[in-house]
Symmetry: C2
Subunit: 316 residues, 2 copies
């Protein structure tokens, strides 16, 4: 697509392996996207410079100057406060600094807005993806871990230290003895992430439960377990039921606090599709307070591009 | 106190028995307060007229005219949307209508902002009470039931149908078989409200557990149970421990979603004071995700006046 003459913005999604960049028009319609490698050498000191070079290249190729650019919205893998301070990104080697000021200066004064990557992806899904048309959206990403983001009245909920939306670490089972990656026991992530699904299947196998699908497999994935559940395998169905129970419980808590109109489920596990939505929604309806039950469940629609869409949406 | 010449606002708190009204100056400092009876006859059709008469009397007594009044903020016992629509107040006999438009018209055009009473009380505590000085405050009211309100960036979180902040109905124990007033089983309210505390003590007595404090008492209150816990009675301590466990779990969920800097505990049960805070905070620290743990716990400071303070704070 070529730029049609209106103002532009950039959405940037900084990950531990690659940085995704998107050029959008002022209505958040994508014009161009690309990816560069995240250079983590020297405590990631080249990352911002690389982003600037890429943005400058994209602009000069299209004969855009700074006054054509409404701003750059950027998602980062760590907590970011409302005023743009990064409170450390371990994955990148970064410490504490104000990324909005720093990056804006490097870009010659272009406005920069930053946020936590999960929160920014949630904003992307709310504005342009599965949550489109809803004002109050909770996004839950079921990947290796469980991430989340909360959008109220179309704005990201950041919280005091940029740690709002950490739905994966809601306690759902205080009797759990296995430890979560965060050091606590009984977090949602232990039952609803890809690794949690594989762990649960292992626990049920170790209890002596048989599985036609999994027994004899030389290692299996969360997809194998969800596929097994879809085909009626009892052990896999029990895993799905446990996932549904704890997702329902955690999302009922989220609904009591924020009363959203839409919940968007994304991440690798969400490839299980409508089956997964059904499993979660059934339990949610059982555990949620009646005035907070009127929630539409949707699958995420933007995949790995949610971050760049959300970055663009940070620029109003 | 007499009015000193600056602009004024009104905070109004409509309850099932009385309506509280407060006159405030533009800095939210109280000037005068009074109370009228809630006239629930004829589906509460006189309530708004009575409020108007009272406001007009207060203004004419002080020789204030409409241009001196910045607005009227009002809390109501039911869900209220962001644009001022009441979605039914069963206690008052009211149906669905826009209270901001209706009351503003009755007051000759004075600006009116409305909210749910628990949310408005939370705003009062955040602006002028236990949560003063904090931007992101969660208020939990432990009374006959458990109510709540969430303030983020100094603004009430209303949610899609005005039902945000319903912390009492967060599911905390999916194994519970006793029913909550809401029809579900295992809500926080069943363990942390005054009636929940008495219920729990009864459950432990029925299990055969002895209590020096409660055995032989001809009916006891939540205060008796909390006093028993303070004096070391084992059964009462077990009740307090269960309350702490489920409050800690629910508030850890709230913290994961909203990352507040302060939680304010109010309502009749909060008269147990620092003992109660200690019981809750200890469990909260155990269940909360590390980046969301940095929360200051405070007792509510405004008592029954929180609603009128919050009403005044609705008017910016």
């Amino acid at each position: 697509m070529e730029y049609t003459g209106r103002k532009v913005k950039f959405g940037v999604d900084v990950g531990g392996t690659t940085v995704k960049l998107g050029l959008f028009d002022e209505t958040d319609t994508p014009i161009y996207k690309c990816e560069i490698t995240t250079d983590k050498t020297d405590n990631g000191k080249n990352i911002l410079g690389d982003i600037c070079s890429c943005i400058n290249d994209i602009m000069s190729e299209r004969k855009l100057d700074r006054s054509d650019c409404l701003g750059v919205g950027i998602g980062l893998p760590g907590p970011v406060t409302d005023d743009g301070r990064i409170l450390g990104c371990v994955n990148l080697g970064w410490g504490v600094f104000n990324i909005e000021d720093t990056l804006s200066q490097l870009l010659g004064g272009i406005k920069v807005k930053a946020g936590n990557d999960a929160n920014v992806a949630a904003l992307g899904e709310q504005k342009s993806g599965g949550g489109r048309g809803y004002d109050n959206v909770v996004m839950i990403t079921l990947g290796t871990g469980v991430g989340g983001g909360v959008i109220l009245d179309g704005r990201v909920v950041t919280g005091t230290n940029g740690a709002a939306g950490e739905i994966g670490h809601i306690p759902v089972n205080i009797s759990e003895t296995a430890k979560c990656s965060c050091g606590k026991c009984g977090c949602l992530e232990q039952y609803a992430s890809a690794s949690g699904i594989v762990r649960l299947a292992g626990v049920y196998q170790a209890e002596g439960m048989k599985s036609e699908k999994l027994d004899g497999m030389d290692g299996y994935t969360a997809k194998d377990v969800m596929d097994g559940a879809k085909s009626g395998d009892k052990l896999c169905l029990r895993v799905a039921d446990t996932l549904g129970t704890y997702m329902g419980m955690a999302l009922a808590a989220v609904a009591s606090v924020t009363n959203p109109d839409c919940m968007v489920i994304g991440g690798g596990v969400s490839r299980a599709g409508q089956f997964l939505i059904d499993v979660i929604e059934k339990k949610f309806m059982q555990y949620a307070f009646t005035p907070c039950r009127n929630v539409t469940f949707r699958l995420a629609a933007l995949g790995n591009d949610a971050g760049i869409y959300g970055g663009a949406a940070l620029i109003k």
